[in-house]
Amino acid sequence: MSATTLTLAKALNTALRDSMAENNKVLVMGEDVGKLGGVFRITDGLQKDFGEHRVMDTPLAESGIVGTAVGLALRGYRPVVEIQFDGFVFPGFDQIISQVAKVTYRSQGAWKMPMVIRIPFGGGIGAVEHHSESPESFFCHIAGLKVVACANASDGYHMLRQAIACDDPVVFFEPKRRYWQKGEVETATAPTDTFRTVLRRAGTDCTVVSYGPSMAPVLAAGEAAATEGRSLELFDLRSLSPLDLDPIVESVRHTGHLVVVSEAPRETSITSEISARVTELAFHSLQAPVIRVAGFDTPYPPSRLEEMFLPSLDRVLEAVDRSLAY
């Protein structure tokens, strides 16, 4: 079958459908994932086709959702949990850190924990409080979890398929404001490892790395910079933990400049880790310190202010200028 054009939302929905059809141990569970198909419709139609036992509307309790998913995984199922919004994962945080992430280690491998925790994340949709957060950094600090974020429809499909096939727990971040963006998806291609950093644009002057929702302004910045005669090399991390830094270090060796872009508040975040690690690995190549374009160290502001909070084309370009001028 050849490539089809799908929205990110539909690509994710298709990945769930294909995984469920392929393996009847795959379950979908969460709040409103049944008849409603999820508030973003990512699970649309799945309950109708796979039944109530494989697509479960759960009681309203995230610790309960994650905690029972742990038990289902022990029983041999492969639960795919939907957290309705980023800001609502925290009631389930204890089960994630104390059980999901540790069961394999604790049992010395007697248990596996094949579980996917899907989290629509990030801002830009004009939502109320707790609906626009970027909590990925918390999960990157938890050993035993794999943390990934998709940025387009094709990765949405293939990364979710890979996450569901993985025998380790994967926290899967979906850029909610890109759900309706269309892209080419080749569902037939044999799956390669999609949990790796990928080059999005080759360049020579400055390396820029990001993931998820911020890839769009980063790609736009690449275009804009080109028109101004600056050549940016752009990477999409895809895997936030573990980090696949080799391609970035390689790039920095020839550009000498690195800008890291993320919506997450800056302090003690994924951008801190990338800055620290790349500096450790490419110290003599760096002609300027790694510059971070990130959310501010404040709670997410009222949505009319989010355009200023979120990394924008302009903020990325300004950071590149600062790095090059350093």
């Binding site: 049944g34 008849k35 009681p59 309203l60 309960g64 109320v128 404040t298 009319r304 202010l305 989010e306």
Partner: protein, 412 residues
């Protein structure tokens, strides 16, 4: 087979099993089956053990346990409250449709549940809302326009929660229940309980879906452990977004109270007089040191969960139609008219007041100004930090860079 309570539970299980099957079947079919809707209706018109006083037809019958002095002033006041609240709630919906608000959370259908509870609160009492409590806000003296910023993305509400004794809206399901219990513990420690008219208590609001959250359980555990003067007021509007209450529980929610050794009462949530009488009793129990108390207001979410929601995907119009017959305002109007407590002039005047409020609500909304970037950095701490001041200064400098060409860095 098993001792008392377990025996109870057998009965519960049996009955709710029926309901469950009825509802369960629907999960697989695209739309609810007719018998389901009927189940819904049965649940409605005959909510077991429910306290009610004013029938859907507007016939008042006093309840022995919850005496209430039904004066014209009282009933007219409650009617006015409900009409005004419904009016600005509808205006909120309209403003969202017209792109003036990002989202609105309608209370349609829950006016009696909220005005009845809200009018049972004294100025010195404290209230902890969820996000749908516009009627409680109204009773606490919060100007409805102070709610608008939340839904327009300008702020998180502009009333002073300490002065109004009405906490900020809380969106994370269940959180506010624990916060309310802690506040009530403080009231007890402050020694403000007793028979004096100045005695205080706290009421917290949450939904049927919220009862599944650990925080609500822990709230009841702590409330009981510390004899906190708090009323757990659960508005069971039958739905948690797309999930019917049967997904959360096998037994009527008010029965949760017994598990904590506190009284639990189910009241007809569309009967404002019953809600008021029961809430007054419950708050007095708390003020005099007999807290906590749990109330389940059995009502219905007549509109969508929010303006972003599409209920046609998960529930039948018939169900909503049937509940229309139980409208909380209509029955009061009928009672006022039949009893001669109010005349046409009164109804007209309330209507006029409502339109006036709606107009002011709308004007305030469209006039709302978006704050500057300083709002992003303000009040993160009571005692701000150098790190944050530096970050704010850097961003201000960055914005100045665009000052000349006027452009502002907006995300693409």
């Amino acid at each position: 087979m098993t001792p008392g309570p377990a025996a109870d539970s057998w009965i519960e299980r049996a009955s709710s099993a029926e309901e469950a099957t009825a509802r369960g079947a629907a999960g697989t079919s695209a739309l609810p089956e007719p018998h389901e809707v009927i189940a819904g209706l049965r649940a409605t018109s005959a909510a077991r053990d429910s306290v009610s006083m004013l029938s859907p037809e507007g016939v008042f019958e006093p309840h022995p346990d919850f005496p209430i002095d039904v004066t014209p002033e009282l009933v007219k006041g409650l009617y006015r409250d409900m009409c005004l609240v419904r009016r600005f709630d509808r205006e909120g919906n309209a403003l969202q449709r017209q792109g003036q608000l990002g989202i609105w959370v309608p209370l349609l259908g829950q006016e009696a549940a909220q005005i009845g509870a809200g009018r049972a609160l004294e100025p010195q009492d404290m209230a902890f809302p969820s996000y749908r409590e516009h009627g409680i806000a109204w009773c606490r003296g919060v100007d409805p326009v102070d709610l608008l910023g939340i839904f327009r993305g300008i702020d998180f509400g502009t009333w002073n929660p300490a002065e109004k004794r009405f906490h900020n809206y809380t969106i994370v399901i269940g959180n506010q229940v624990l916060n309310a219990v802690g506040y009530a513990m403080g009231q007890r420690f402050d020694g403000v309980l007793g028979d004096e008219a100045t005695a205080e208590a706290t009421m917290c609001f949450f939904g049927d879906g919220a009862t599944s959250q650990g925080d609500v359980h822990e709230g009841m555990v702590f409330g009981a452990a510390f004899n906190a003067p708090v009323v757990f007021y659960c508005q069971n509007n039958q739905w948690a977004i797309s999930e019917p209450v049967e997904k959360q529980t096998r037994v009527p929610l008010f029965k949760r109270a017994a598990a904590y050794g506190i009284p639990g009462i189910r009241v007809d949530g569309n009967d404002v007089l019953a809600c008021l009488a029961v809430s007054r009793w419950a708050m007095n129990e708390c003020r005099t040191g007999n807290g906590p108390v749990m109330i389940e207001a059995f009502t219905y979410r007549m509109d969508a969960h929010t303006t972003s929601d599409d209920p046609t995907r998960y529930r039948l119009a018939d169900e909503t139609e049937a509940w229309k017959l139980l409208d909380p305002i209509e029955r009061v109007k009928a009672f006022l008219a039949r009893s001669g407590m109010a005349d046409a002039a009164f109804f007209d005047q309330v209507q006029a007041e409502a339109d006036e409020l709606a107009a002011r609500f709308r004007k305030h909304c469209v006039d709302l100004q978006t704050p500057g970037p300083e709002r992003i950095f303000s009040n993160v701490y009571a005692e701000s930090t150098q790190q944050l001041r530096d970050q704010e200064a850097d961003f201000a400098a960055y914005l100045d860079g665009f000052a000349d060409d006027g452009a502002v860095g907006g995300h693409k």
